[in-house]
Symmetry: C2
Subunit: 210 residues, 2 copies
């Protein structure tokens, strides 16, 4: 069985291969003409489905995609679907930003500067979608990792907001966990493991949410 993961990010492709062992996972680099799909939806689910539908239609193969982000309680759940572009133009070299991830994280820390420890709850969400071509099955699953935002970054692992997020039950940030430790509890790990169940056991057509 072959599926295509709607990303050019080699790290994501390897991660899905590990979780789905036995299934042949292709990345978008195998389909140079695949369309760019802008993330115009206001929900993780909407964006994940948007990308998976477009790639299933283009490739004729079952397509998997994900949309992930950080939801901060004191920001009413934002940055959410905007997590990767939260700092807008200020995350570009024009404004002296070291890199996009760092600018996003620094902006978030500034926005939470006056927020007390008790109100710094947050969670990561990953929506993972599987769409089979030709109007076949569509599944979206959601994984979640709860925790809190600390006041200064710690750790070199992971990416994005990992250095300022401490998962519930941990004293280390996500960026201080090993890759295996993070996979075991992370929103992406949970979502992709749930999707692996759907891949092994196809359901009827229609959007189902796990």
């Amino acid at each position: 069985m072959k599926i295509v993961l709607a990303t050019r990010n080699q790290g994501k492709i390897e991660e899905l291969r590990r979780i789905l062992g036995g299934i042949d996972v292709l990345g978008l680099e195998a389909f140079p003409d695949a369309p760019e799909v802008p993330e115009t939806e206001l929900t993780f689910e909407g964006n994940a489905l948007l990308k998976a539908r477009a790639i299933a239609a283009h490739t004729g193969l079952p397509a998997v995609s994900d949309d992930s982000g950080l939801c901060v309680d004191a920001l009413n759940g934002m940055p959410g679907v905007l997590s990767a572009r939260w700092s807008g133009r200020f995350g570009t070299p024009d404004f002296g930003a070291p890199d996009r991830d760092r600018a996003n994280l620094e902006l978030l820390l500034d926005q939470l500067a006056d927020v007390a420890a008790a109100d710094r709850g947050a969670h990561f969400v990953c929506a993972a979608a599987l769409v089979r071509p030709d109007g076949g099955e569509q599944v979206v699953v959601e994984g979640r990792m709860d925790g809190r935002i600390i006041e200064a970054p710690r750790g070199d692992g992971g990416f994005g907001y990992d250095p300022i997020f401490v998962p519930d039950g941990e004293t280390r940030t996500s960026a201080e966990l090993t890759a295996a430790e993070k996979d075991a509890i992370s929103h992406r790990g949970k979502a992709f493991r749930a999707l692996a169940v759907s891949l092994a056991r196809p359901t009827e057509a229609g959007v189902s949410r796990t």
Copy 2:
């Protein structure tokens, strides 16, 4: 009758004098030792009360304060209480920001870049608090102005997010209205007019919300 408005902003003081005509409105510049009150609450009401309570306790006079901000639907109601500091460090000269208001507005436009016209609804909120000293009356009123966020700034009037906000029923931005036109429909105009009623007709102690 004398009241103190918990601000050093001369524009706000003049505005309240116009609305309250006949009441002697002092600004914080008359009380050089007045404490700085950080806006640590997660609601407009909470911040307005926090400031008014501190200033009433310090001055022994009835104190009025306000907390205002822009709530954007596609950002789950943010920037909200963080409106004035939304761009964090990126609104400072260190990062080449022209000024704080401009940086906040540019960041918001970037965050909404992929949001369709139908989803660009927003509203301004002003919570205005009146606190009488010595455990007397406490009132909070809220004014609201509904509208939508456009794609590029227009107009030189007003301040803050006015150049990208078009009130319902208008084709002009808040920054293209005259001061009198804006006062008549604005969140601040509505809140302060409601508070003027409370000032003229004292109620019993306790927090009441209009």
